[in-house]
Amino acid sequence: MSEAILDVQGLVTEIRTRRGVVRAVDDVSLTVGRGEIVALVGESGSGKSMTAYSLMQLFPTPAARIAAGQIRFEGRDLLTTPPDELRRIRGDRMAMIFQDPSSFLNPLMTVGRQVAEPLLARDYPRNQIDARVHDLLTRMGLPDAASLARRYPFELSGGQRQRALIAAALACKPTLLIADEPTTALDVTVQAQIMDLLRSLRDELGLSLLLITHDLGIVAQHADRVYVMYAARLAETATTRDLFHDPRHPYTRGLLRSTLSIEGASDELYSIPGVVPNLAAPPQGCRFHPRCPLATETCHQQPPLAAAGASLVACWYSDRVA
């Protein structure tokens, strides 16, 4: 792994709700190296998107806040950075794209103006903005950029919107792109195109990519390393290759079985028994233990993230999973 441009330690994010404070992200540590594609994987409600929002320090709800931890980005501590500077980092050094490209574009503004916004915010020479926007849109694989820039989001297809959002995110050549389920809302063929685009951007620009997804197929094809989240905590992390060949957490194993058994086609689609725990009242200790075939009394204690095989795993019995 090359030098880490993003280094997160012990991140805790809390959301105030009517039933009390919920830890949506609980003691998550992760790193992303320069030019690396790192996947953060989990089911919906696992806290993976909330982790992404925490890195940007932007939340969909004012009820969320970062309660503990450290976020170092390009060597500086983002949690002690004043809001004004943080705003300058967003969109400039660190950018984000989202799950539903339709709702993340302002319906009443032309696409071009929204792509131009990061440039406008940083004194980019005014007379060159249009040219830069057209160049960006073209590079995102959008033909006829000049006319497209004048259109409104509702006049574009889902794939075009996501490309436009990527163009806006990359306008200032950031070093890190956080992609929150960038293909979930798109058609399968468009999904592949968008992923290929992101990957080629990594290759050309040396961009680092933190890919938030629940789609293990995408992870297998594109990611260098993987973090698996379960119920707000990290379950396991490894290189993509090791994780798929030698998963060490029972949850990872179940997850792989439930998605990849389609290819084996030998038996019915496997699914992990039980349900994802309610984060307002999580199980004590290892959060997976109520659903885990290996669980014992020991599992009422939270296991540390420890080396097992080529992975780091939060499981007391990682040596038995194989």
Binding site: R90, G91, L108
Partner: protein, 328 residues
């Protein structure tokens, strides 16, 4: 950067076609009022004044008052098409001229009041939305509630009491002082001084409406995904508020002014009466007290047509603000 698409022109065409029956409808209502009023329609067409015998005959002939109702309607429409709104004996001039004479003052008053309402209402609304749930928000909301509940003419009287009678700071009756000889910029300034109190009285209700609407739309936008997206692009908080969020409020604000023209003009009639402002509203009041019916019905007709046109224009502006409208 505007995209004047064929869809926009088609939409405009359809909306104009839809407005035509409404226009005809309001004209017919006016006609029926004149015809069905107790007594002789000539009284309504001429007013409660001793008119020369030959003028009575002329009116009877022009409007065909001895003909059956449908024929009379056609005659009435014909007279309107020629711009004949009748003659005001109380003012000794044709109604059309009388109205044109007074129109400027009303447009000035309502225009200034609505501009004032928009600026203050938008700023207060954005401010309240930005600090939602805080003390500022509460102050704005409470003021808006008061402004929305107070009758314009009573507010006008209060303003006169405070600023004209007690403090003596501002004039309160008319548009210029009786002995004024000012010309040029001095005259404009003088009208401006006379305008302050009536404009405030007329605008208060719309300050309230617009600030409430702006607060709601901006607050909604601030929790939207696209604002989150804009922030993720490093867009400044000011731009988020005044470009992204406020754009969301633009359509409702245009609607509240456009669709409330009849209430604005009603408010203007009352405010003009309180401040002796020489506009259409004051003319309406005078025509009612003097039983000058042709003026009264002509004003009703003008206001009705104005409302239909204002609604039409509002819809067209909506289509420009929100391109999605054109396709609905």
């Amino acid at each position: 950067m505007s995209s004047a698409s064929p869809a926009l022109f088609r939409y405009i065409g359809v909306r104009i076609l839809q407005a035509l029956p409404l226009l005809l409808g309001v004209v017919v209502v006016n006609f029926l009022l004149i015809q069905l009023a107790p007594g002789d329609p000539t009284t309504v067409l001429i007013g409660d004044y001793p008119a020369p015998e030959e003028y009575v005959r002329q009116v009877r002939a022009e409007f065909g008052l001895d003909q059956p109702l449908p024929t009379r309607l056609v005659n009435y429409l014909g007279q309107l098409a020629q711009g004949n709104l009748g003659y005001s004996f109380a003012n000794r001039m044709p109604v059309r001229e009388l109205i044109l004479q007074r129109l400027g003052a009303t447009i000035l008053l309502t225009g200034v009041a609505m501009a004032l309402a928009t600026v203050i209402g938008v700023l207060a609304g954005v401010w309240a939305a930005r600090y939602r749930g805080k003390a500022t928000d509460g102050v704005v909301q409470t003021t808006a509630l008061l402004g929305y509940s107070i009758p314009e003419f009573f507010l006008g009287q209060i303003l006169i009491l405070i600023f004209a009678v007690w403090l003596g700071w501002l004039p309160s009756q008319g548009m210029r002082s009786a002995r004024s000889t000012a010309t040029g910029p001095a005259a404009t300034l003088e009208v401006g001084l006379f305008l302050i109190l009536p404009a405030i009285a007329l605008s208060m209700r719309y300050v309230a409406l617009i600030s409430r609407l702006t607060r709601a739309s901006v607050a909604e936008a601030l929790t939207s995904d696209y604002v989150l997206g804009a922030r993720a692009r490093g867009v400044s908080e000011r731009r988020v508020l005044f470009v992204h969020a406020l754009r969301n409020a633009a359509a409702p604000i245009v609607t509240v002014i456009g669709y409330n023209l009849s209430f604005i003009l009603a408010g203007s009639a009352l405010v003009e009466t309180v401040f002796a402002w020489p506009g259409i509203g004051r003319l309406l009041f005078d025509s009612i007290t003097r039983r000058d019916y042709p003026v009264m019905t002509a004003i009703l007709l003008m206001v009705s047509i104005g409302v239909v046109l204002a609604n039409l224009i509002t819809d067209l502006i909506q289509a420009v603000i929100d391109p999605r409208v054109r396709y609905s």
